[in-house]
Subunit: 288 residues, 4 copies
């Protein structure tokens, strides 16, 4: 059997008749074998979204580059906003930022080791030393960048330096308890995934479990979203919930919430790594 | 076998040693047979909550009254806030208020007919005539009280008149799309149950499904709560959720939400009717 | 704007390169405007499934028939198993069969009236008279066909007669407590939807709530499936669950289960009516 | 403030009038301060279950022993089946048994380290060496006891030897893929907790995810239960579920199921460690 390359093509465009036929015919002519496809039409916005996973015959970098060029040219001709990746050839370089709490960072590392998350993790950065020993013991590089004398700007600059050095494609905030500056955020558009420990938009801001306890809600949740300049306002990728009752203190809510946080964060990261997400406006299409 | 009467006692008090022993000994001495009991200690507030369901030997009103007096005297001596009901003898008189939408009102009536909700429904009131025929056809009294010339105050006065005439113990807002005045609300403290079509405190106010769609959430919900003077801020009784995705228009969210709304409202009403709820501050203890 | 007709095309076929391009090009050439599309590739079986919803310009029956013929010819040429429906022109004729319990039958009728289920309900059939008055009061035709002297065969024959007279396309078993003969079932392949009151394959057979209570499960459920000759073994369309605890008697489980039963049954029926289901082997693809 | 000891008392007895009064009066006389209490009456069996958590004044072992004796004498007089523990003084010694898969074992160790599970873990035993390095790296003792020449009996004997040496109170089967002999099981009655990777009683036995995939279910689950001599038939402690669809291969179901497995197992273990479970017949009362 000839060697093949796996590709994921994501499209986002105003809808028009014949679009699906054009794209699928193009791929067929390129010898592509479609493994999976999902699409969505937002009739209010007349926006069309598509994710196509396919294999095409190619064993050399030149062959692959030729295919990429043809798809790129066609999409340009059709005025499509397109993104093409060869996931088996290019693993994303991911930095995980954490603070003192272990549950999200350790969960991500365990899933990475178990092969659930297709990425490389060149470094873990934290403003606290707390998780350093444990991270290092598992064979990952841990960088401690504390905020010195309240100088957040300097710390951010150092963190950005590490990220640039490691050529990072994606940043995961695994309960990183610092608000990023808008400069930081704009350097990694749609490439920073956060987990907020509430069912957004409820309980924005600090100490959401205490807020939830005070309000007396009967369900708590967690929300994973892309980070934008507006705190807790970025496009939502995934949400999860769990029941609570009057018996739960806010500490107990926090404990229960941790299981949701780590599962939802891992799910959102996985969707990103598998190129299942297309953002539009302040929302996401997630082809699960 | 001697005749017995079923009773539910709810207590809310500062905690002190010996409290449970005192109460259970009192009930034992009165010949009570405890069917069920549930309790909760809020250690932050040092507040103790208890619900005891029991049977005691009594076949006449005089015997029951004697028991009531003894429990009342004891609780007064202990400075307990107590509530005692004989649920089989006193069925609550419930008014259901609705507007145009059928799903909550029709669900409540169907459950009532099926024997799921132990209450009498002497009247259904609406500011619209829409559901009148259907309500009447099922054998319930329907009162149409429209808002004339924008005069909400007059309409409220007429509604309050009907409620007083029917000696109503509980008011259910089954998607009643009018905001009640604080005078109305204060006339029925902890006796008005509303269903809000969002996962409160997210999406307070008008058109929550449109708000949810705009925000791009991945889960929607409904919240049943006691009505207080602050809109959508009263003590939460029950909440439910359902998953949505980018495929769901706000109309589709509304359709999915309806199933949650009616189930959660019915659940909250049932908890109230079975004396399972104790409110404190702006929260509830619900002994499910 | 020219008049258009809405269509839903479902395909099920062995996969081959170019399939999606062929189908979408065909539709484009016919002037179709794709509203929605969903597809699935089962790589184990090399089976391809697709549901395409589209509009095409046609205002007369002849124009529509021409389109149908072209699609049919093409699919035959490609050896596709295809099903084409014009849902706005052909509403399914649905018979609902029930026994004594009201929750599923009344829920379906309420949803039908509310416009949630696009179908006609020419008749409701029951082996008991219990729900007759209520069904009739809502304006539906109720046929009582009891089993006389244990003669199930005769009763089935009479029921089949009514179904034939009404030209029924779909039969919903809304807690119909009779086992259908294999002759009956084979007369309506993939056209009988049942709701089983357990999380199949757990608790097959009679009295599943009692079985569940005896086993001490912590979650109960309901399963909607197409009926086949093997009892409770047909292709599953939808399942739902709810938590229970030691506090729940089997009667309480039954009460809680009813909410799941009716919601899951209505969901399955809706998926069928919207042509979202493709069966294969003993399983279903459901494009939700 | 005088020193106090925390205690948990669990009762299981036929119900009789005055029982709650007797127990609470006894505790009051012993100077106990009740922190929490939960009870359940099974009216079918006339069985009463209670869990009381309290503090009593005691700073020496002798004082505690005196209290224990008084409670024990009273319960004997009342013919109660009672269990009293001082959880802060006696941490359970727990052995975790695993095979090749890491997700449950690693999750339990992470939760143990995070302080979520109040227990000591003197040893981890496995029939495979796979997880040895990782377990050891985290500072736990790993014992590899493979099955040699198919001799399961010898292996079991060696495992039982390790358990006896470590004076183990509880055994957790964290996806331990060996069936224990009835002799092994009877040596640790109600002290072996297993996680079964299906929603029991569905898919008993081997490869439940493959069974679930074959049956085409729309929800999968996991069940934690006490191990008895009958495979997968012991008293259920906790169950959890997650939605799947036709898109999920059995491998994908397995991946999704892992999150449920580890969360449900950890929850069941936590309930056991906090003395929240009372078994009766083949069922459990779990005071969550």
């Amino acid at each position: 059997m000839a060697e093949t390359t796996r590709a994921v093509l994501r499209l986002h465009t105003p809808d028009r008749p014949g679009l699906v036929a054009d794209v699928s015919t193009l791929l067929f002519k390129l010898g592509a074998n479609i493994i999976g496809a999902d699409q969505h039409l937002d009739t209010d916005l007349n926006s069309f979204f598509q994710r196509i996973e396919f294999r095409f015959p190619a064993s050399t970098e030149a062959e692959r580059e030729a295919i990429r060029q043809k798809i790129s040219d066609a999409c340009e001709g059709w005025k499509l906003r397109a993104s093409l990746r060869f996931p088996d050839l290019w693993r994303r370089q991911v930095a995980i930022l954490c603070s003192k709490q272990p549950h999200c960072i350790m969960d991500l590392l365990a899933r990475h080791r178990a092969g659930e998350l297709t990425m490389d993790v060149p470094l873990v950065i934290s403003n606290h030393a707390t998780q350093g020993e444990e991270v290092t013991r598992r064979g990952y590089r841990f960088v401690h960048e504390p905020i010195v004398d309240g100088n957040k700007k300097d710390q951010e600059a150092r963190v950005l330096g590490h990220l640039a050095d490691a050529k990072v494609d994606l940043i995961i905030l695994a309960r990183y308890m610092q608000i990023l500056s808008s400069d930081f955020v704009s350097a990694y558009p749609e490439r920073i995934i956060n987990i907020h420990h509430s069912f957004l938009p409820a309980f924005i801001g600090a100490e959401p479990y205490k807020q939830a306890h005070r309000r007396g809600v009967k369900i708590i949740g967690a929300t994973s979203h892309y980070v934008t300049a507006d705190l807790d306002q970025g496009p939502i990728i995934a949400q999860g919930v769990i029941r609570v009752s009057h018996r739960d203190s806010w500490e107990e809510m926090e404990r229960k919430g941790r299981d949701i946080e780590r599962n939802i964060l891992a799910h959102a990261v996985r969707c990103h790594l598998e190129d299942r997400i297309i953002t539009y406006g302040n929302k996401t299409v997630v082809f699960e």
